[in-house]
Symmetry: C2
Subunit: 151 residues, 2 copies
């Protein structure tokens, strides 16, 4: 058992990303899944979640880290093509849920927090935007074209 | 001239990372530099800054993106070994300075914002920590061992 897993189990904590997918699954492999977060405040917010409980990206084996980052950048490209945001934000924090996951976040100049990160207090009421079934299907197709079919 | 550069130049904006290094340089190559941010509020905060003005990570050529991420993870490993933080945070945002740069941030449970991201409002007075000349030299040595000498 690796140190990260032991630390997690010793703490006896539930883990949101061990207990459930964390959103609608858009693409998956044995190593990771890509999910659309169910968060209407941030349309297009998706996450890349590693399958097993690992705390830091540098705890991953090299091949898993490469698969992870390939998925992060495929997702960034898919979201840029589908949502045409003003900026993309990428972050792996894990201060609340210490299980490696990347936030891949389309941002707009008139969203509720811009130019602050999405975790800051809102500055304004956002311009409403859709990230519905049609957009999620487009992202899924783009991911399959880039990464191959889910497996 | 690529679209990102043209957008930048058309806007006539100064860019902090085109105009200066952005901190003390700990490692560099023709593609990127790794700098220690001069920010006493976040000891150990370092950044990986791409050399030319590019807005999004997915605008980079594949080889440059691989070099960039290799540097980000070498820096995470160096900071973990040197600072022994409770958690590492990684982020590429660029909402204020739209020139690709990664924040690589050691975090502690008793720092001023934990578990919030560092851009949020402070929750408490932080426990003071050093990231002085000795620690910066240790990170530099670790980077050179991992990535080869600066070039």
């Amino acid at each position: 058992m690796d140190a990260a897993r032991r630390r997690f189990e010793d703490a006896g904590m539930a883990c949101e990303f061990c207990d459930g997918p964390g959103g609608e699954i858009l693409w998956h492999s044995p190593t990771l899944r890509i999910v659309a977060a169910d968060d209407s405040a941030f349309p297009g917010l998706c996450r890349v979640v590693i399958a097993r409980h690992v705390v830091e990206v540098t705890d991953l084996a090299e091949c898993d880290r490469q698969d992870l980052m390939r998925a992060v950048f495929a997702l960034e490209a898919a979201l840029r093509a589908t949502c045409a945001p003003d900026k993309m934000n990428l972050a792996s924090l894990g201060n609340v849920t210490a299980h490696v996951h990347w936030h891949v976040i389309p941002r707009w100049h008139d969203d509720s927090r811009y130019p602050d990160p999405i975790w800051c207090s809102p500055r304004r009421s956002p311009t409403p935007r859709q990230f519905g079934a049609e957009q999620r299907a487009a992202v899924s197709r783009s991911l399959a074209a880039d990464l191959g079919p889910s497996k």
